[in-house]
């Protein structure tokens, strides 16, 4: 499958790509397969040389590596370093890879031994605090979301292949949500991280009448003070704000402060 692809009549090289997963639900990789209507076009854009979940063949000479999941064990650290050595470009795919994702929810416990005992009793099990890829290697590009939005990934991959710059929105979800004329969740008494979360998902959750849980991490233009003011005005318990802030790791700093404040107030 070495045939050339053309864009505006000009031949473009098909980069050799690999997909890899560390600790994850594999949902972000699945999202790529989930785009049935354009899947075959997408597959024509790149040459997949390593995709354990989908194919038997595996090669190490990939140019772009998409890595899903967070690091939670020493052997994953090693695999990640090896991927970095092999690839020209490493892309963190999804919130687990970008921020630690839901996996980092276990990090909030002081006693990590308790965490292991709670699940495995006295059976010894190797695990460390969940960390994003950037804690270990240089990451060239981050694709946010839990899960990633397939349209966004296809756009980003197309730009990568064509050598165009990849820009993430700087504004928050609220902008997308208002453009869609949704009912604001705060009006319904539900908390929403839309005012501080990075746009790009087209206000996925608020458009389905669920408050944003902040899976894409902070918008560069986030206004957390404003959010706290709305939450207080609507009398939404701060615990519910904390649940959302600490869910995916993108707001780890803010969440840590709020958790300490709430625990001190108890």
């Amino acid at each position: 499958m070495k045939d050339e692809k053309k864009y505006l009549g000009v031949a473009v090289p098909r980069p050799r790509v690999g997909f890899f997963e560390l600790s994850s639900c594999e949902g972000c990789q699945l999202q790529l397969l989930n785009n049935e209507a354009s899947l075959l076009d997408f597959l024509g854009l790149v040459e997949i040389v390593n995709f354990r979940e989908g194919m038997k063949e595996a090669a190490d000479d990939y140019q772009i590596a998409f890595v899903e999941g967070s690091v939670t064990r020493a052997d994953e650290e090693e695999r990640l370093h090896k991927i970095r050595r092999n690839a020209d470009l490493v892309v963190a795919l999804g919130s687990c890879a970008c921020f630690g994702g839901v996996n980092q929810l276990k990090n909030r416990f002081q006693d990590q031994e308790w965490v292991k005992k709670e699940v495995y009793g006295n059976h010894p099990i190797a695990s460390q605090e969940a960390r994003p890829l950037s804690a270990f290697i240089k990451v060239d590009l981050e694709i946010y979301g839990c899960p990633i939005k397939k349209e966004e990934v296809e756009r980003i991959v197309t730009n990568l292949v064509l050598g165009k710059a990849v820009n993430h929105p700087k504004y928050p979800i609220c902008m997308e949500c208002k453009a869609k004329e949704n009912i604001c969740l705060f009006e319904l008494g539900e908390p929403c991280l839309g005012p501080i979360t990075r746009a790009g998902c087209d206000a996925w959750c608020p458009s389905n009448r669920l408050g944003c849980w902040g899976c894409r991490g902070p918008a560069p233009e986030a206004n957390i003070a404003e959010l706290k003011r709305i939450v207080a005005k609507r009398k939404i318990p701060l615990e519910r704000l904390l649940d959302r802030l600490e869910c995916f790791g993108g707001f780890a700093g803010e969440a840590g402060k709020l958790r300490l404040a709430l625990e001190a107030a108890k």
């Binding site: 994850s24 594999e26 989908g54 959750c205 389905n208 649940d243």
Partner: protein, 424 residues
């Protein structure tokens, strides 16, 4: 007679998650035959401790990307059972419709993308886009239908947004449901073509007597809630799940393992059909007959066939569900729930077998303890023992290393293991 063989597959491909196969045969004697699970655990049960109940379905759905809807629904059911809340008829219908579409998309993914390449002698679905374009198109059409309907009912095909304790945040459009009904009817032709394709494959002729375990409901093929039934005659209530899953640990696996009446048990599509054959919808039952699937089948390779039969069943039943939804007026999407202290258990038949979520809740609805029992964990020990028997079977037949490796890989894939789920 085959003398010796060494098979060592690290990180088996075309399965969800990480597992290894090792087989060593010396002078016709099986020295070692193992199925090892090396996935990293993520500790979901600990993560939930101290959280308000509304977090549970949202977080536990992320145990698995393929069956996130099943996890979300099991978690919701556990909480609603704990609070003593019964969902409305409308909510029950919508949840079952959503569940059916997850079953369809997951089964199609396995049947075509993971299992079919073995029968067609290729390493992945990619070469099939050239050699069998019509097969790939059928698969994509079916998967797209299932995923689109998941979006419409659950808000999102993976990690759904509309599914909450008490019901849904939003309802689908009736007009759109009507359009989906037409697509469902049309999809039966694609499924019939799939059945014809699989009828042309030769399945390995291998059987091992197994205890099959599934849910059982009064008068219906089970998906959400029910008692547990085994082909060895065990019957248990939903809340008695600990008695039957009996999770234990072994050195070769980071997943917990299960047993019931014997050293291992099997759950999943084949187990469901073995236990509930009489409740299959008519077209599904007819296709089962065409494909030679009759209860009780002890051939683990038949699981893929059982999944195909279930695809037909869920499509037939979804058409009925849509008719019922369209015939009734919309009620409020979501009912109020009142937290109360208690232990709630939710059982759901997900694509790979029975899934249990159990939550201990305090009077404010905070989680004190969580337990999730995953179907693939229930299957691991059975896969392990199947591989032992398969190695022996191969040794006796004098098969080559390549053939043994291929058969062992196919065997594990037939269970459609969801390994990251099992080590959650």
């Amino acid at each position: 007679m085959k003398i010796s063989c060494e098979v060592d597959v690290r990180h088996l491909t075309r399965v969800e998650g990480h597992g290894n196969i090792r087989i060593s045969i010396k002078n016709g004697e099986v020295k070692e035959a193992r199925w090892e699970v090396v996935e990293t655990p993520r500790f979901f049960e600990a993560m939930l401790v101290g959280k308000l109940y509304e977090n549970a379905p949202y977080i536990s759905g992320r145990i698995c990307g393929i069956c996130s809807i099943g996890h979300t629904l099991a978690s919701i059911r556990a909480i609603e059972n704990g609070f003593g809340f019964t969902p409305s008829v409308q909510t029950a219908r919508l949840r079952l419709l959503l569940k059916h579409m997850e079953t369809l998309q997951s089964h199609i993914l396995h049947i075509y993308f993971l299992a079919a390449p073995d029968f067609l002698g290729v390493g992945s679905v990619l070469p099939l886009t050239q050699s069998h374009p019509e097969v790939v198109q059928q698969a994509l059409r079916l998967k797209m239908l299932a995923n689109d309907l998941c979006d419409e009912v659950g808000g999102r095909r993976l990690h759904p947004t509309r599914t909450v304790v008490g019901g849904f945040t939003m309802l689908p459009e009736k007009y759109t449901l009507g359009q989906f009904r037409q697509r469902l009817v049309a999809s039966l032709a694609d499924l019939a073509a799939s059945a014809a394709l699989f009828a042309s494959f030769t399945l390995p002729d291998f059987s091992r007597e197994t205890e099959f375990v599934s849910l059982r409901q009064e008068g219906a093929y089970p998906f959400i809630g029910g008692n547990l039934l085994s082909t060895d005659g065990v019957l248990k209530k939903e809340h008695e799940y600990r008695a039957m899953t009996n999770e234990y640990m072994a050195d070769y696996s980071t997943s917990k393992l299960s047993r019931l009446s014997r050293k291992s048990l099997a759950v999943g599509a084949l187990a469901r059909i073995n236990n509930n054959f009489a409740y299959l919808r008519p077209k599904a039952a007819a296709i089962a007959g065409d494909l030679g699937l009759r209860p009780i089948s002890h051939n683990p390779f038949m699981n893929t066939i059982a999944q195909l039969v279930e695809c037909v069943h869920v499509v037939e039943e979804s058409i009925v569900l849509i008719d019922e939804l369209l015939a009734a007026d919309w009620q409020e999407p979501r009912q109020l729930v009142q937290p109360r202290a208690g232990i709630g258990v939710g059982a759901v038949e997900v694509p790979r077998g029975i899934l249990y979520h159990c939550l201990h809740l305090d009077g404010d609805g905070r989680i004190e303890k969580a337990d999730c029992v995953i179907p693939t964990s229930q299957n691991h020990a059975n896969i392990y023992h199947d591989i032992e028997d398969l190695a022996l079977f191969c040794a006796e037949q004098g098969k080559s290393d390549m053939e043994i490796e291929h058969l062992a890989e196919m065997l594990v894939r037939a269970y459609d293991p969801c390994i990251s789920c099992s080590v959650h």
